[in-house]
């Protein structure tokens, strides 16, 4: 084949490849890239209560700085995020170790363990709403059986955040566990054999060998959960709508309500862009951390 013909064939192949990814790229630009640019523009607009639109400059952003609800929402978002992430990572690693030592996992057991995060978060919210009912719920009955005081759970401004974190952790801890289990199964068995010969205790082996080797996998799980936890929406919207009062009003819930209940599209856009920046910031930070713990 001559050089010219080879180049022609290569060009043709390149063109065909572009044609293959074109639908996905065009769709994504139309549905995501363009709308996000549009949101940036909306963030500089003011929408009056009559629906009239006018240029507002940075007014939406200066409003955000002085908006008590924004700072409160940021605090709720971060509190819920940290609490849920810690719960899910700690119990996820524990559950992964338990599953790992069980060796043989029948398919039915595995199906059982993935069932919480395969069901819609909305359904999880519905069922926990009934279980956690302050006066007739099964949860308080269990507490009282063990001689513990009942709780108002989702109806208590103090306990609503831990309760929501608990519901989300019930749903997603098995997911973290399965990721960590994957990491455990890919560890070279030779490191354990060496530790066994050295007579290291199981706890020491875990602390000195397993945990450091698992860190990259744990950070990966943390990234995947961070993305979801920072934009927490479904369970809260179904159970409390941000209440009682504004006790569980995360930034995502607040932005949604500003946009679709008060129809202040401009301010909602500014709120959502800020939240998006926070999510991307967290992902970047964790990515760096993953680089630091890689082996």
């Amino acid at each position: 084949m001559s050089d010219a013909a080879a180049t022609l064939a290569q060009d043709r192949q390149k063109l065909e490849m572009s044609a293959l990814s074109a639908p996905a790229v065009i769709f994504t630009v139309a549905m995501i890239a363009f709308p996000v640019v549009y949101t940036v523009w909306l963030g500089f607009q003011n929408f009056s209560s009559t629906g009239k639109q006018s240029f507002a400059g940075l007014a939406n952003y200066s409003k955000l700085v002085s908006d008590y609800e924004f700072w409160h929402g940021l605090w709720v978002t971060i509190a819920l995020y940290v609490l849920s992430l810690v719960l899910q990572l700690v119990f996820g690693v524990w559950l992964a170790l338990v599953l790992f030592h069980a060796k043989r996992l029948p398919g039915i057991v595995r199906s059982l363990f993935i069932s919480p995060f395969m069901m819609p978060p909305v359904v999880a919210g519905m069922m926990w709403l009934v279980i956690l009912d302050p006066s007739l719920g099964a949860a308080n009955y269990v507490l009282q059986t063990f001689g513990l005081p009942p709780s108002d759970w989702l109806a208590s401004p103090t306990w609503v955040i831990p309760t929501v974190a608990l519901i989300d952790s019930w749903q997603w801890t098995p997911y973290v566990a399965l990721i960590v289990l994957g990491g455990l199964q890919s560890l070279p068995p030779s490191v354990y054999e060496a530790a066994q010969i050295d007579g290291a205790s199981p706890f020491k082996t875990f602390q000195r060998i397993t945990l450091p080797l698992l860190l990259p996998t744990i950070v990966t799980a943390a990234i995947l959960r961070s993305v979801d936890l920072l934009r927490f929406f479904d369970i809260i919207y179904i159970t409390t709508q941000g209440g009682p009062g504004n006790a569980s009003n995360t930034l995502n819930i607040y932005g949604f309500r500003v946009g679709f209940e008060f129809f202040n599209i401009g301010y909602a856009s500014a709120l959502m862009l800020t939240l998006t920046a926070i999510v991307f910031g967290a992902v970047l930070a964790f990515n760096r951390l993953r680089g630091a713990v890689a082996w």
Binding site: L20, P23, A102, P120, S135, I179, F256, M272, L275
Partner: protein, 275 residues
């Protein structure tokens, strides 16, 4: 028996106890939901909660009688199947091209939807769909849900395509096969199981998605998940019907997930972990 063997047995017992404990915590709420859905109305709210009761279907009958549950279910099915099909249609060729050329930005671009909060897209969509009168249309719902399904299809299929030896393609190329032909005739049959897993995962996450339908649907096109809110509003005294609704909504994703549980983990992490 030696000390070591004794310790070993003891550790295995301890592990089993922990496994059972975890299983109970994971299963109990779901079991409670299903049990409550079969309780007669006076026993659902009984306190202390009743564990033994005569099961009845009255909650399910009540649900279909008092709410348009079946038409919501049909809406969910239309939106989910439509968005899954669209995700496969766009995602399969894109995943193939990314795997072949190693040019990964198209795949990474679609991931943006996985990271940003849904409301970020929903605000401009709402403004745009309203301008063209598409709020409440199946088209708007299917397009918005395809934003969820497309990255799932691409990222689940990428490792499958990567797993095909290059020589297979090169041989076909020498025979004069076009790239498109190679994809449909040679590559696709080789990754059929990957396509099945990606389709099921896309279906599950599209079915489960709440936010978009909450705003973009109307009374006629409301999906089950978006309608869940109505069941709660009406059901504060009707826990039985509420739990019947929750059970039925959760059933399709749970059944599908059980079918492919073995291959789910690597798919769920979008390739971040090789499970």
């Amino acid at each position: 028996m030696t000390d070591a063997a004794n310790t070993d047995r003891w550790i295995r017992w301890l592990n089993l106890v922990q496994l059972v404990l975890a299983g109970i915590i994971i299963m109990a709420p779901t079991v409670w939901m299903v049990l409550s859905s079969f309780k007669p109305s006076f026993e659902v709210t009984a306190y202390p909660p009743a564990l033994i009761f005569t099961p009845t279907l009255e909650n399910y009958v009540e649900l279909t009688r008092t709410t348009p549950f079946l038409s919501y279910a049909l809406n969910s099915l239309i939106v989910t199947v439509g968005s899954t099909a669209l995700g496969l249609l766009f995602g399969i060729p894109a995943a193939f091209a990314v795997s072949w050329t190693r040019i990964s930005w198209p795949a990474i671009l679609t991931l943006a939807a996985r990271m940003a909060p849904g409301t970020l897209f929903l605000l401009p969509w709402y403004v745009m769909f309203r301008q063209v009168g598409m709020i409440g249309s199946y088209t708007a719902l299917i397009l918005s849900h395809a934003v969820i399904t497309l990255p799932i299809v691409i990222w689940v299929l990428l490792p499958s395509f990567d797993g095909i030896p290059r020589s297979v393609f090169e041989a076909a190329q020498v025979d004069g096969c076009s790239v498109t032909r190679i994809l449909w005739r040679i590559a696709l049959p080789l990754v059929a199981s990957g396509v099945a897993v990606s389709a099921i995962l896309a279906f599950v996450f599209s079915w489960n998605y709440f936010l978009f339908a909450l705003v973009l649907s109307n009374g006629d096109t409301k999906t089950l998940i978006a309608a869940a809110f109505n069941f709660i509003g009406e059901g504060s005294t009707q826990w039985g019907a509420l739990m019947a609704a929750a059970t039925l909504i959760a059933l399709p994703p749970l059944v599908l997930a059980a079918l492919v549980q073995r291959w789910l983990v690597s798919g769920l992490t979008l390739g971040a972990v090789k499970g």
